[in-house]
């Protein structure tokens, strides 16, 4: 399998060997998470902006992916400035905003968004199967790779089954809006039925796979190949990550 697309408009970031891209993502993510000095923030922001630019992901799509995870971090960012510190900046009624609180809120918020945006840019446009194969090439055990591959298939199946069962229940008058024994029991039976139906399907799939030779012999060799440019890019990211860790 060749990871390079034959179309000329593949974003620059996605022409990178997926294995090296994953390593670069983890190096940068950990480097970002180690930053405790606000002076390193512009460098972190610049790197994030750079990788977003070369990923080709539209801002609107990025924002769509960020909105749900933002809820918790925004709550933290609002509360942390009031949570204590030794250098008061100003008062809001009975509450005091401290410099340490404000710095923590800023650092946590920026680190969170920088790492999440990197993850979306590096992996968001990569087909899931390719990501799993890349991890396998990096040493992910075969059993876990197989679980991941099958899980992706079952996500679709389970989602459709869940939707269908929910619709059937609604048609029969079930609302599930209050916390009652009926709601709990119905949720349990829904979950049990969903699992059982899918388990029987999974059992059949496994037997079909075994009959076709699954589990005998080695895993197929995945066809990634890294160019000199790919390796140079990883070396550059490693230097950047080390620099950020030292600076931060």
């Amino acid at each position: 399998m060749n990871h390079r697309s034959s179309t000329p408009d593949v974003a620059l970031l996605h022409r990178w060997d997926p294995r090296l891209r994953i390593i670069a993502l983890l190096l940068l993510a950990f480097a970002f998470s180690s930053i405790t000095d606000l002076r390193a923030v512009p460098a972190m922001a610049a790197l994030t902006l750079f990788f977003h630019t070369i990923s080709g992901i539209p801002v609107r799509r990025l924002w769509y992916k960020l909105r749900f995870p933002s809820l918790l971090i925004i709550m933290l960012a609002v509360l942390l400035p009031f949570a204590g510190g030794s250098t008061p900046l100003f008062n809001l009624g009975p509450l005091t905003i401290t410099r340490e609180g404000l710095e923590s809120a800023l650092l946590i918020t920026i680190r969170f968004y920088a790492i999440l945006i990197l993850a979306i840019c590096f992996l968001g446009s990569t087909p899931i199967l390719q990501t799993i194969r890349a991890f396998q090439a990096l040493g992910l055990p075969g059993i876990m790779a197989d679980i991941a591959l099958l899980m992706v298939r079952y996500l679709e199946v389970l989602s459709k089954d869940l939707q269908r069962m929910r619709r059937s229940m609604q048609v029969r008058g079930y609302q599930g809006r209050n916390c009652s024994w009926k709601t709990i029991r119905t949720t349990a039976l829904l979950t049990g039925n969903l699992l059982l139906r899918s388990y029987e399907r999974a059992d059949g799939v496994y037997r079909a796979m075994r009959v076709r030779g699954y589990g005998h012999g080695t895993h197929p060799r995945v066809g990634f190949s890294a160019t000199i440019t790919d390796k140079a890019a990883l070396a550059a990211v490693t230097v950047m990550a080390m620099g950020l860790t030292w600076l931060g």
């Binding site: 998470s33 749900f68 679980i147 899980m151 349990a188």
Partner: protein, 213 residues
Amino acid sequence: MHIPDGILPLPVTVGGYALAMSVTWACLRRINQREDPREDIPKAALLTAAFFLAALIHIPVPPASVHLILNGLLGILLGPFAFPAIVIGLFFQAVMFGHGGLTTLGVNAIILGIPALAAAALFRILTRGYSSTPGKVSACAFLASVVAVSCSVLIFAACLLIGMPAHINASVERSALTILVFSHIPLIFLEGLIIGLVAGFLFRVRPQVLEGL
């Protein structure tokens, strides 16, 4: 109970990864000792998908709603497969939804995975010896799930205690964590009830699905 990126310091996240990799290695070693290590892969994949989707199943608990975690169920149904399954589920939740984090993958795996293994061991011990009935299986599964979710909440609170910024007023931090722990009590019992009922249903219809039996 997923800790996002950017909150925990580097030593904690790296330590989380190291511990999670060690536990994964131990679980895979246990799995490879089975006669057919691959036999339960479809079941593990299915439950990983269920764990992934559990965040979408909301149960009303006034004034808000909670979503199931299902780590107790994974432990009861998968045994040693539970930990690697949770690692995979957490990775996809982080990458696809931003739920949890990449640097905190190891820590989140410990928060949810170790209690899942504890639930598996407890369920196996409780159902051993005597002949099982649906009621007994439900009660054992309820207990195992309550222990799993309780342990997850406590480990989660401990990680936040270690990882939160040092400047935070100690009493504020203590109050916040106490509220966090107590606010999960409805979820602990709700999930225990649901898992107990699910296990009883599965025992009646297809008992071989339950790993501990």
